[in-house]
Amino acid sequence: MPIEKSKLRKLAKDLILIEKKSFYGSEPERDRLKKMRELIDEVSKEIKNDS
């Protein structure tokens, strides 16, 4: 499934942000993987709809 470079870049940035919030301590670590999974689901759906 093709994905625009800008969308991929944004996904990378958002995933890093989730990790950053957990790594630098402002958010509980246990939520990190859950949030990442949700974001991947969301973007995956968006790509499917776009195509």
């Binding site: 499934m1 991929l8 870049r9 996904l11 890093i16 990790e19 630098y24 990442m36």
Partner: protein, 676 residues
């Protein structure tokens, strides 16, 4: 970030409140804190680190036992540290408490002195000023400076560089993505009835792991190769500077033989590649040679002989028969005698199409016959050249072995030992080069096979809708992993040149001598003297490498403060808090380092025991860089007895730094004043 002050309360050796105001003057940006060993230098450094990030340095012993012993005895349950600092023209206060009260608060201090709490993501805010993964390099307890040296004298600074480049969060993101991807692969097994896709995904996962492991081994192998080559060059140089005329002559002969060997080896490679070209160009000629002879004989001697060239054209005969009229105008009636005669000519009449095809065949076959001697000549010439090059290589190698044997038999122990080492290194280099080639091929093969599997996965039809969704998620994760890891690889590649440039610049500033630092592609560094000999980093002279390395890291972090990257954490501009930095440094380098360190950062805080004749304080003072000085005085409740009273000397006055018969055991902080 500029630290204005720190207040420690009941933190380790500090009973009650002790405060220090650091120098914030731009020129006189250095504060020195003097303390005897074991009195509280590392405690103070850790108080600052803990206040910022809630963690301690590796050298901080018993981190769970932080509450001051006397405070505990008096029923106190908590310890506190308050840091006051400036950032972007704003003043902030961090208050952190530990023990029974576990608290962390950051306040913005307004101009009228009111404190407003930074409630939203205080941790993130502090980390945006000085990320915790970089803090240890700025607030440096010296533990990291006892660099781990491998057996070749190299020190890996890759982890530190990655920290300073802000890799940590991205690396953790990649770890998490890998976990999520593997979970999805497991889930895929439930929805992939034929198991075709999940089996392919399992195999791709194995390939992924193998590719990662092979790349790691390749990097390590390349690094070993670089260190062997580095050492080899040093040994060669040593042999080349021998004072013996015999050795010089042998080395010179070997050098010439090596030059010839290299050029012959290059020529052999070119000849071998030309051989392939020739075989491609002429192999058909060789195979077709006998065939062409027979075919030409067949064409010339066959039953077609006599028909070619025939005196009349088949088309003419057919036209006469069709029109039933001769070219002279006579009627040629069917079944007539003339008709039968003309009809019989069809057997011998020349067919222009057949003639054309035969002429083409003859022309190609003639070409084969003509090319054959030329092919033979060129291929034989190539084979001859290859043999000659191989013979010359073998003879040059023999010549070099003989030279080596002669050197090994010389009556000079040092030369013999260098030659032995040279031969060992040569073999190691050869073996390692082969390993690098093997690993490179292996990785290429793994990547190709993985790509094939991915292609197979794409071609699978009849997947359930759920399996399709899971597959698209795996693909998405792989793409984002590539996006992130690509940026990390590029940044690490780019920093190699920058690190070399920084190191050169600090070498010049600190040593002002002809030293060099060798850096491998996987960021291992080695201090070498002018002859390329590694300087043992454990020695006093080697301590300089720690300064060069830390200074380079801090300088890189500073330049990356404004980095705009979605993937990497930006660098930091923070004070350098250095614990006992000069203790292992050779006194002859100390003044240079002391003079240059304040230029590296906006604020320098040095914790040290005493000058020990290294002229650190005096150099800083005379350069106009020393802003404030404090000393830690240890108050002891016990009697003095025969114990020696330790003193420090400031402005010609001797000051005791241990006091006995005090009410309680504690460490107090006192400012050094010229007129006190």
């Amino acid at each position: 970030m500029i630290l204005n002050s720190v207040v420690v309360e009941n933190f380790r050796s500090f009973y009650g409140e002790q405060s220090i105001e650091f120098s914030t003057d731009k020129k006189k940006n250095t504060t020195i804190l003097y303390a005897l060993n074991g009195v509280g230098k590392t405690n103070l450094l850790n108080a600052i680190l803990w206040c910022l990030h809630g963690s301690f340095s590796n050298g901080f012993k018993n981190p769970k036992d932080v509450l001051n012993w006397e405070a505990k005895r008096r029923g106190r349950k908590s310890y506190h540290v308050t840091l006051n600092f400036e950032e972007n023209d704003n003043i902030y206060t961090i208050k952190r408490s530990g023990g029974e009260t576990d608290n962390f608060k950051v306040f913005l201090i307004s101009k009228d002195g009111n404190a407003e709490e930074v409630k939203s993501s205080a941790d993130l805010f502090i980390n945006s000023i000085i990320p915790k993964d970089m803090a240890g390099y700025f607030i440096n307890d010296g533990e990291g400076n006892d660099l781990v040296v491998d057996r070749d004298g190299y020190i890996s600074v890759r982890r530190s560089i990655r920290d300073i480049l802000g890799f940590k969060v991205a690396e953790k993101t990649l770890e998490d993505l890998s976990k999520i991807k593997n979970e999805i692969r497991q889930e895929l097994k439930k929805f992939d009835k034929d198991k075709e896709l999940s089996e392919i995904e399992d195999r791709i996962q194995i390939f992924d792991e193998s590719i990662v492991a092979s790349r790691k081994t390749l990097t390590e192998t390349q690094s070993s190769l670089e260190t062997y080559e580095d050492r080899f060059n040093y040994v060669e140089k040593q042999l080349g500077t021998s004072s013996s005329a015999v050795v010089d002559q042998l080395i010179s002969l070997r050098s010439k033989a090596e030059d010839r060997l290299r050029s012959t080896e290059r020529r052999l490679v070119a000849l071998e590649s030309n051989k392939i070209v020739l075989i491609r160009e002429y192999s058909w000629v060789a195979f077709a040679y006998l065939l062409s002879n027979e075919a030409l004989d067949f064409i010339d001697e066959s039953e077609l002989k006599g028909r070619i060239p025939a005196p009349f054209n088949i088309q003419l005969v057919k036209d006469i028969l069709d029109k039933e009229e001769c070219i002279c105008g006579a009627c040629i009636a069917p079944e007539s005698e003339a008709f039968k005669k003309i009809n019989s000519l069809l057997k011998e009449a020349a067919d222009p199409e057949l003639i054309n095809r035969l002429q083409k065949a003859r022309s190609r076959l003639t070409a084969v016959k003509t090319l054959s001697p030329q092919a033979r000549e060129r291929i034989e010439e190539n084979f001859k050249d290859v043999r000659e090059a191989q013979d010359l290589i073998s003879s040059l190698k023999g010549e070099m072995d003989e030279i080596s044997d002669k050197i090994l038999n010389l009556d000079d122990e040092k030369i013999r030992s260098l030659e032995k080492e040279r031969n060992t290194l040569k073999n190691k280099i050869r073996e390692t080069e082969r390993s690098v080639d093997r690993l490179t091929d292996k990785i290429e093969d793994l990547l190709k096979r993985k790509k094939d599997l991915e292609g197979q996965a794409k071609r699978i039809e009849g997947l359930s809708p759920r399996a399709k969704i899971l597959k698209s998620k795996i693909d998405l994760i792989e793409k984002v992993e590539l996006e992130i890891s690509g940026e990390l690889q590029q940044s690490e590649k780019d920093v190699h040149g920058l690190l070399a440039q920084k190191i050169d610049s600090f070498l010049d500033k600190y040593l002002r001598q002809d030293y060099r630092v060798s850096i491998t592609s996987d960021l291992k560094i080695c201090l070498q003297d002018r002859n390329g000999k590694p300087v043992p980093p454990s020695g006093g002279q080697g301590a300089i490498l720690s300064f060069i390395y830390i200074s380079s890291l801090i300088s890189i972090a500073r330049e990356r403060r404004e980095l705009e990257s979605a993937i990497l954490t930006p660098g930091a501009i923070a004070p350098l808090v250095f614990d006992a930095p000069f203790s292992k440094l050779d006194p002859k380098y100390a003044p240079n380092v002391a003079k240059e360190l304040p230029n590296l950062v906006d604020q320098l805080i040095v914790l040290m025991y005493q000058d020990d004749g290294k002229n650190v304080s005096e150099t800083l003072r005379s350069a106009g860089r020393l802003g404030k000085e404090y000393y830690f005085c240890e108050e002891i409740a016990g009697e003095k007895g025969d114990t020696e009273i330790h003193t420090l000397t400031f402005f010609g006055r001797s000051v005791p730094v241990t006091k006995y018969d005090c009410p309680i055991d504690r460490v107090i902080v006192k400012e050094v004043r010229e007129n006190a």
